[in-house]
Symmetry: C2
């Protein structure tokens, strides 16, 4: 694997600033002139061990800026960086290797709201719950330092620094180590398609951004222009750091459709190749999962047939199809969905929109993924986006009856693709997952709120009583209430999920990727045949119901609401 | 093939205007209300044969606009459109089919400057010269209606209308027919990546453009956004029209790297598939050649291995490598070239920059094309861009000695890729090919001039005496002087080209695509072995020379300057 270009050893520090005339390193009150190296890199050789010291860079006489590759930001995004020596942590997972993702179940969680403490250590205390639930992979929403002390994490700016409010580098290592000790693989959600607007000092150092393409969040990351070799290195070194220094078993890549790259080797292809090389050298099962709005099988197809060769990609189509059938919602992008045949199509071939016309997009969308193994798609009934990007952050449990929830879970957890659960989904949590931030810049806070209201327009959602993202209570409200676990209907919902996951793990016919036959009956019933297993799910909008049987014997039957 | 959605028959006219509340068709002084059809199309059914009539559209009470799919603009880009009945032309090429491009030689010409007349009919009178020269394919620079009566053609706005100053639809048909009668295939240069700024009324009709990506010429064409189904149809129907109604044997696609398309099926892939379907139905050899700055083998790789499946692509690397070695120029993008090993690499594998770092671009560029047959690359010693985008429009003959020219021609015309000659190159024409326009809008004219001067900056070219593009004399100066043909050194240069093309056609070892061995000797000599043929070319900057021998016998030897 490529060496990390920044910290060659704990006595040396480097920074890429190709346009600078002078770069100074500030440690305590002393500044040191850095020496220009090759291709825009500046170096400083220290006489002392730098670990634990706080520092900053001054570019051409600027005020002190944090290190773009800072490993720790104990004072937040605007403060000084801290040198970290990764070798000091005592790992106890030497025997660990992750199980195949294709036969797993993913559990997505957000460190800040998963537990009352909102920290890595708080999450460790709840890992046994996940073991009992039966999931195989934990997927942690972004932890890279973002502004303030609460947020979803998608506006991170110090991509190498685990958030100080969560417990920083040491806390994160404890969390991954503890997960491995319990047999849980851990994936990290990383955001390479944009950076947050607040505390983003990257442009002070180099051409990290390009105005050639627009993303929903502003200028795109410079993946194919002047200087892009180092920008790509910056991101790929980051990916390798999480896998190497934090022992993550894989990464979930946020919104890859906003990675604008027209060079002959797409960034995703380079990333996948380098991660594969590292996995092969280290003998580890490492995976890359893409969130993609392209509906393009290329993302997971082998590189030798022109694909990018990632392990798996999300199928939003599956979510939208199932959600629309269970809720009857038709606003916004749900207008493209609502037919039971679309659930069938998503189950059988990954995408619903595989080149056909989408009236919501007013264009043809996607490409057929027939031939792509189904265990290369991650599917869900809800995730952080589908919940949190609603005006009120309502979960499925607020939008459908208990029997609807049970039906959705049965279709999801018996599918041939990889199911993903969002924290609390397993017990039908009544707490919402709302959008919360702690921007220190008032203008940014206001722009974010207004941007979200605009987005809600296409759904005709009420926007006059949207929770204020900046309010602490919005964050507090979004925390899971673990006491619910002992109450109905939560106990029933949890038992249902446990039973389905147990079935999935024990019944060979239910192994991911195993083929199955899906039929629709009478326009509202879905019948899934997987060898000895039969799932019959009625999407009757008044009284949805589901029945799961094995070899003709009914194992699970909904009927909570009756 | 897809039917042309516009003119179903000569009694019906349609136009796509998805946002309009009302569209009127104006014929003579009468306006007719059009009827809204599906997906934003408006139709009008006439009682009379519309052929030959002039018309325009009024959108929501606007002034009259020409038809975006106008087949003829007799009064220029701002005037009315004219209905054309394609069935009236008497073709005499029923027996014609184009020879394979892979074993051909292309001759690029510009109708306005190829002959004193500057018309299709003028060009017909010179076709015998091309037959005698021995080329197989004529490539016509863009003819779609552009502003004014002179220009290169890359700022066309009426993509379906052959330029009125060249002779319009009838003239173009006569030209293609006459070429076929003489055994010459004809390719048309089409521009789908941008439209000219002047006379561009497309946005009055629909979402043809997108501000998500920037091209050097402004907003990109909307290939993947809302409404893009019809925009793609607009372009692909255009391609099919040239092949079907004008009998072109193929298209050269301008700057495909500026076709921004992130949908799962790239525009080029759709275009290639539809053209292939039409070729298969009509039993014709039809080709698509891309000008591409991606250096990406994907452009010509088969679609089943993730490529776009075009027939061939230009290799600018070959030009730059050969040009830099023969002229010693090192400014601008030539700074990436100048080593004889780069000529060898381009000859052997298509690209010089195949993933390696380019200091001019300050990024890694391209991807290896090893395994791609060499006859899928079009190569040249000069073309309209490499000449005309110089400040003074100097040809190679102004930049190198006659022996340098002869050496370059020998390397080019014995290569395994497809050689392209630019009009007059075969006799070392002394006339320049400068940049000329006839914009009617002063601001656009000024912006174009200033933009070009800025571009010249990276070459350190003098920009204070750049010929004025708007001046008629710049156009006149760029016309070929056919009287030169009888003078030296032009006769010698012409004979040299004829002999090399004759050799290429007659010697089996020189068939395109046949493998060969290229070596460099003493840092300045290139030795090309192709079976019985041996080319030894010395790039000595003082006295370049070349020797072409077959089976040990010297057939051609330079030495004009000695």
């Amino acid at each position: 694997m490529a060496a990390d270009a920044r910290l060659l050893n704990k006595y040396q520090i480097g920074v890429w600033a190709p346009f600078a005339q002078e770069v100074r390193l500030q440690i305590a009150e002393t500044t040191h002139l850095m020496v220009q190296d090759q291709r825009g890199w500046w170096r400083f050789e220290a006489k002392e061990d730098l670990a634990g010291l706080d520092y900053a860079f001054l570019v051409d006489g600027s005020s002190p800026f944090p290190d773009p590759r800072s490993l720790s930001q104990p004072y937040g995004v605007h403060g000084r960086s801290r040198f970290i020596d990764h070798s000091s942590f005592q790992w106890t997972d030497a025997e660990w290797n992750a199980p195949p993702l294709g036969s797993g179940v993913i559990y997505e969680l957000h460190i800040g709201t998963f537990t009352p403490e909102g920290t890595f250590d708080g999450a460790i205390a709840r890992l046994d719950h996940l073991v009992n639930l039966g999931v195989s992979h934990v997927e942690v929403m972004p932890v890279a330092e973002f502004p303030g002390d609460r947020g979803w994490g998608y506006d991170g700016v110090d991509l190498y620094a685990p958030h100080h409010a969560y417990g920083g580098p040491e806390g994160l290592k404890r969390f991954v180590n503890a997960s491995h000790e319990r047999g849980l693989a851990v994936l990290l959600d990383v955001v390479y398609n944009h950076f947050g607007p607040d505390g983003n000092y990257l442009s002070q150092f180099g051409p990290y951004f390009s105005d050639r393409n627009k993303t929903p969040w502003g200028d795109s990351v410079n993946l194919d222009g002047d200087g892009s070799v180092e920008v790509r290195r910056f991101l790929i070194d980051n990916a390798l750091m999480w896998l190497r220094d934090y022992h993550f078993d894989g990464l979930r890549l946020d919104a890859v459709h906003a990675l604008f790259d027209y060079s002959a080797t797409h960034f995703l292809e380079q990333l996948a190749r380098e991660v594969e090389e590292f996995a092969s050298q280290s003998g580890r099962n490492l995976v890359l999962v893409a969130e993609s709005d392209w509906n393009d099988p290329k993302v997971v197809q082998p590189r030798k047939s022109g694909g990018y060769g990632l392990t798996a990609q999300w199928s939003d189509d599956f979510h939208h199809a199932l959600h629309a059938c269970l809720t009857g919602e038709t606003a916004g992008y749900y207008s493209d969905f609502g037919q039971i045949e679309q659930v069938k199509k998503a189950l059988e071939s990954g995408f619903v929109y595989d080149g056909v016309y989408s009236s919501y997009r007013n264009r043809n969308h996607g490409l057929s993924a027939v031939g792509v193994p189904l265990d290369r798609f991650v599917i869900c009934l809800q995730n952080h986006d589908q919940i949190g990007n609603r005006a009120q952050g309502e979960r499925s449990s607020q939008l459908m009856s208990v029997d609807g929830l049970l039906a959705g879970a049965a279709v999801l957890l018996t599918a041939a693709s990889i199911p993903l659960l969002f924290q609390g989904e397993e017990w039908g949590a009544s707490t919402p997952f709302q959008y919360f931030t702690a921007h220190q810049d008032e203008r940014i806070a206001k722009a974010v709120s207004e941007g979200r209201k605009k987005e809600f327009g296409s759904f005709n959602w009420q926007t006059d009583n949207v929770p204020d993202p900046q309010s602490v209570s919005t964050f507090a409200r979004s925390k899971l209430d673990w006491d619910e676990l002992n109450r109905e209907p939560h106990r029933t919902v949890l038992q249902w999920h446990r039973a389905l996951i147990e079935l999935r793990r024990s019944l060979p016919a239910l192994g991911n990727g195993r083929p199955y036959a899906v039929k629709t009956e009478c326009g509202s019933t879905l019948r899934v045949d997987r060898g000895s297993l039969l799932v019959r799910c009625s999407f009757d909008s008044e009284a949805p119901s589901v029945e799961v049987s094995v070899s003709g014997r009914v194992l699970l039957r909904s009927g909570y609401d009756r």
